[in-house]
């Protein structure tokens, strides 16, 4: 497939942060001019600094800027864009955007509004899965009236089962039942709890998956009926249902299972008339049965993991598909090579209940070198705004094996330093040293359980660390201008250390 600059005249990127930068880079590589948008607090954001063209779209709150379809369409028209890429988040899964694009004669880089509606909703997606012979978690979609009826269903489906309130949420009105004798009392508890919490006592029944894994299949579908699976991503390491680490391939997926899950995802995408890049999410139980969870009708945050093991650029392919190009036949049998893993670095403090820690980035040292990719929208001197998701950087490592990938990721996490704001980098150091993670024994509740356990004692610093810290602190104090210390004067009046270092390196150049 040839990716050419004549696919579109100009592309509007309706997003901000690292994903706007990611899409912008794809446009630059293809030679397609691109247009960025920014809210009042994002004037100096990296995506604006790298943009070919940039237009303001209003105040900081996203509903007054990044979520304003009218403003986006207006910018697209004024700047002469013939396509819009939504990134992820914001409007990426809102069918109103593709509709508005269609009305304005602009191509939306993603699936159609109708597809978003039929595949994006959990219930509609589940019905489509059943119709296309894709396994779903066994259970009833409709409330069950009589507990006796529910009990015989539970017996037929096999324990454990879970009772869930129709109006439920947050675990209220939910009971796991492991055997027959518990059923009636669990039913009474759950329905009275549901009545108290939601004013609705109705319950439905599902098979309970104990410690399932979250494994998703990346698909690409062109407008000519070819749908391909690019293999799985394992996203079981989650904190309160938010993905924290993603990797490909999964340690439990065999070539046979990959083929089966890939075929199921492709079947589902065909049945829904899906076009463009999408992700079909599954839960996988201990016996490697997989059950459909939902479809994400957009590019995922974790797409780089698939890019590193397939060698494909998903954003460029999204653009090509939207321009009506065909996917090559050979990709129907694509399989992953090597291993890739991504961590999401957030401006938050893991020692303080993951409190968001926005603020100014005083300094930083980035991670580079073999097998390392850093997708980000931050830089030194930039103030991370409080208004948006605190994702700073996605650090992606890849290597020949999972072991090499983890070693590279650990090494890169040691190199990556941000000064001025706190990040969750310590969380990844901890996860990447956990024996269960290293052996791949993870599931969707694993991280929450790990964080509830007492912390292992800190690894003692190597000898000299404390002395070095004390010397560094004293030295730092001595070079602060206006510090009351007399030692400060000679340093601050001396020629700039940067200049001195520059001159030194000029005369001291070794062959």
């Amino acid at each position: 497939m040839r990716l050419t600059s004549d696919m579109f005249r100009k592309i509007l990127i309706a997003n901000r942060g690292e994903i706007a930068v990611r899409v912008l880079r794809a446009c630059h590589e293809m030679g397609i001019p691109s247009v960025c948008v920014f809210s009042e607090v994002d004037r100096t954001a990296l995506h604006v600094r790298l943009a070919d063209e940039a237009y303001p779209i209003g105040p900081a709150p996203s509903r007054e800027s990044y979520l304003c379809i009218d403003k986006l369409i207006d910018v697209a028209r004024r700047s002469g864009c013939d396509a819009i890429h939504p990134g992820y988040g914001f409007l990426a899964e809102n069918p109103s955007l593709p509709r508005a694009c269609a009305d304005a004669g602009i191509t939306f880089i993603g699936p159609s509004a109708e597809t978003m509606e039929t595949m994006g909703s959990k219930t509609a997606g589940k019905q489509l899965a059943r119709r296309s012979d894709v396994p779903t978690v066994p259970g009833t979609d409709d409330p069950i009236e009589h507990p006796e009826e529910a009990e015989s269903l539970a017996q037929a489906m096999g324990y454990p089962v879970v009772l869930k309130a129709v109006a439920g949420g947050g675990g209220k009105g939910m009971r796991v039942v492991t055997e027959d004798v518990e059923f009636m009392s669990a039913w009474r508890d759950a329905s009275s709890e549901a009545l108290n919490a939601f004013g609705d006592s109705r319950l439905f029944l599902e098979k309970y998956l104990d410690s399932p894994r979250h494994i998703e299949i990346q698909i690409l579908a062109d407008a000519h009926g070819r749908v391909v699976s690019l293999g799985e991503r394992e996203c079981s390491v989650q904190r309160r249902h938010q993905k924290v680490i993603e990797e490909a391939p999964s340690t439990v997926v065999t070539p046979e299972l990959r083929r089966k899950m890939g075929e199921a995802a492709v079947r589902l995408a065909r049945a829904g008339g899906y076009v463009n890049a999408g992700t079909v999410e599954f839960l996988v139980d201990a016996s490697l049965n997989f059950y459909f969870l939902e479809v994400n009708t957009r590019l995922q945050v974790e797409h780089p993991v698939t890019e590193q093991v397939t060698g494909l650029d998903l954003v460029k392919l999204q653009i090509a598909i939207a321009a009506g190009h065909r996917l090559p036949f050979a990709w129907e049998t694509i399989s992953p090579r090597g291993h890739a893993m991504e961590v999401r670095l957030y401006a938050e403090d893991p020692d303080n209940n993951f409190f968001p820690c926005p603020g100014k980035i005083l300094a930083r040292r980035i991670a580079t070198g073999p097998g390392i990719r850093l997708d980000e929208g931050v830089y030194r001197g930039w103030t991370v705004p409080v208004e948006y998701d605190p994702l700073l950087s996605k650090l992606i490592a890849w290597g020949n094996s999972r072991e090499e990938t983890i070693a590279r990721l650990r090494r890169a996490l040691d190199e990556y330093t941000i000064t001025g704001i706190r990040t969750n980098v310590g969380l990844f150091r901890r996860i990447l040293s956990e024996p269960e993670f290293l052996s791949g024994e993870i599931h969707t509740k694993w991280l929450d359980q790990l964080l509830a356990r007492p912390r292992p004692p800190a690894v003692p610093p190597r000898p000299g660390t404390e002395a070095a810290a004390a010397i560094a602190a004293a030295y730092w104090e001595s070079i602060q201008p206006g510090s009351g210390s007399t030692g400060g004067h000679d340093a601050s009046n001396a020629p700039s250390r940067w200049k001195k270092e520059g001159r030194r390196s000029q005369v001291d150049r070794r062959p």
Binding site: A347, N352, F355, P356, C357, P358, G359, L362, A363, R365, R380, V386, E387, Y388, D389, P390, D414, T417, T419, G420, G426, R429, A458, V459, P460, P461, R462, P463, G464, T465, E466, A467, A468, A469, A470, I471, A472, A473, A474, Y475, W476, E477, S478, I479, G484, S485, T486, G487, D490, R497, K500
Partner: protein, 170 residues
């Protein structure tokens, strides 16, 4: 030039005397009265490189609002309070306050969306005082001690910056 460095980390609290004597373009360093083989330089903004008996360390330094510094090297962090024993700079006038009256300070920029207590309320240590929204997340600001809410500066709907005083608990 002598400095008294108070370090606080998960390993505990320590105190060191660091003497830095300028010697040409570098420093003669002694630690707790003993001369040490140390080379110290600002390698990059906020990054001090220390080579101590051949072992290389890079210490990343972020000044805090209260005049102390946060030091970070690899997985290790220190809070450093540096005092110049010859200067009469009582940086920690707040030391008494730490036990008595407690300032409630915004830990990050955001918006106060809800007050959970009124002036005069008795509160427990750890009890929520107000909710501050930042980055789409609502966060409870908790009382650092058991006591009485003496004053509240923060109002519902008010935007706050990191370090702003939101109130006092007596």
């Amino acid at each position: 030039m002598k400095f008294e460095v108070h370090l606080d980390s998960v390993g505990g609290k320590t105190k060191h005397i660091v003497d830095l004597e300028k010697e040409g373009s570098s420093y003669r360093v002694s630690l707790d009265g003993q001369p040490v083989d140390a080379d110290v330089i600002l390698a990059a903004p906020n990054a001090v490189s220390v080579i101590l008996n051949g072992a290389a360390f890079e210490i990343h330094i972020a000044p805090s609002l209260d005049g102390t510094c946060k030091l970070q090297t690899g997985a290790h962090e220190f809070q450093a309070d540096v005092r110049d024993p010859r200067a009469w700079r009582g940086r920690k006038q707040g030391a008494l306050e730490a036990e008595g009256r407690q300032q409630i300070v915004a830990p990050m920029p955001g918006k106060v969306i809800r007050l959970l207590v009124k002036v005069g309320d008795e509160v427990e240590a750890g009890q929520g005082l107000m909710v501050v929204e930042a980055m789409k997340m609502q966060n409870e600001i908790r009382s650092p001690k058991k006591g009485r809410v003496e004053r509240l500066q923060a109002k519902e709907g008010q935007p706050v910056n990191a370090g702003d005083i939101l109130g006092w608990v007596e």
